[in-house]
């Protein structure tokens, strides 16, 4: 349920974003024999020892906690790949590198519950932290350039958690700019009560108010 904490802000809490991330599919190596599971979201299994199988992250974590499987870390969660991503993040101050939409949540869940399955976990963890830091700094610098002339903000490759953090601030800011930069206020035309339609200049803007 979105916006629990403040009904006036359209937003998810961090645990809610994590909940969404738990539907991402990962690969596990079971160490037990178990029949297939029939869930509302689909069928998973059957589970055979040492045979890799794809399941949602929540199921992987639940089985891992009970010692019934090892989780195979996703390909992007390796020292090699993350080192490259970090370098690329640092080299392009305006762009975000392509990472899974839920990389923040997935990496945290795996660090918490499957540390023994991730090679070089300390290195991986610190790379993720660095990448997060660089990216967030970029978001902030990006937000500084917002002005009344901002029609839309394009944030390609921004991840779910990153969007979620800036959403309350960004939405309010754009609302304020929208209000203060509306043509009626900045260039009042003729008589203030004139019924002249003022749509011309508003073209590409969208009303960002919550419904």
């Amino acid at each position: 349920m979105a916006g629990q904490s403040d009904p006036h802000l359209p937003m998810f809490t961090a645990p809610e974003v994590e909940f969404l991330a738990e539907d991402e599919i990962v690969e596990i190596i079971p160490n037990v024999r178990m029949g297939a599971l029939h869930m509302i979201c689909g069928d998973f299994g059957p589970f055979l020892p040492q045979i890799a199988v794809k399941v949602p992250l929540w199921l992987a974590v639940a089985m891992k906690k009970r010692g019934k499987c090892a989780i195979r870390p996703p390909g992007w969660l390796s020292v090699d790949n993350l080192t490259q991503v970090l370098e690329a993040e640092r080299e392009s101050p305006r762009e975000f590198q392509a990472l899974p939409f839920h990389y923040v949540e997935i990496s945290r869940l795996l660090f918490d519950h499957a540390r023994d399955d991730i090679p070089d976990i300390y290195m991986v963890r610190s790379l993720i932290e660095d990448i997060k830091g660089v990216r967030f700094h970029k978001v902030e610098t990006g937000l500084e350039t917002i002005s009344g002339r901002t029609h839309a903000v394009k944030l390609k490759n921004l991840s779910a958690m990153e969007v979620n953090i800036v959403r309350p601030f960004l939405v309010r800011t754009l609302q304020a700019f929208y209000k203060h930069d509306s043509p009626q206020i900045v260039q009042p035309q003729g008589s203030l009560n004139s019924k002249r339609p003022q749509a011309a200049d508003r073209g590409p803007r969208r009303d960002l108010r919550p419904r």
Binding site: S5, D6, L9, M11, T13, A14, P15, E18, R108, D112, F136, E140, L143, E144, I146, S147, G148, M161, N164, I165, V166, R167, P168, F169, R172, T173, A176, F177, K179, H180, D181, I185, V186, Q187, P188, L192, R209
Partner: protein, 193 residues
Amino acid sequence: MANYYNIDDILMEEEPITSIFQVRANGVGLLDPGSESNCVEAGAKVDLPLWLAHELHLRQAVAIGVPPCFSQRTRKEVQADAACVDLRSRCPYFYELGCKIFPLVGDKSIGPFLLYTFTSRYKEILSKSHSAPVSTSPKYLPRLTQEETQLFKAAQWSIASFRKWRVGGSRLEKASILGRKRKPAAAQLPPAG
């Protein structure tokens, strides 16, 4: 957007506006402390709350002046160093009042002034709200208007909520509305593990 039940809208309309009565009004002596009979004479200068000044202005019963927070002096201060000006003490509803008042007083320069003020102050709020430690109440917070404070709090809240999630721990909590009476006792026991 005006909303009948909105607390900020209502409080904003409580801002005093210097008004000069163009007509005589009977039975409202309370409005003018200088009046000896129970009425206000034409030409009397009184501070009316915006909600009353606005409506009487529409009926051409009063002429209203530009509030001091949009005076030339304030504008100069904002132009010199926008982020440092204490707008809250001048008018906590600076932007909202500005939007409402400028069509009434016919001062077209207020609109661009509002935009200029917000644009120059916004960056300060942006950088400070996302990086400041959550527990401290920063000393520039009292300088911010209502709208700016809400912007600051929105950012601070989402950062705090993210940090809490990253640290982990209990997800189920006591309803915050119940106060924190038991918290100190619980805090003394170090969390196990």
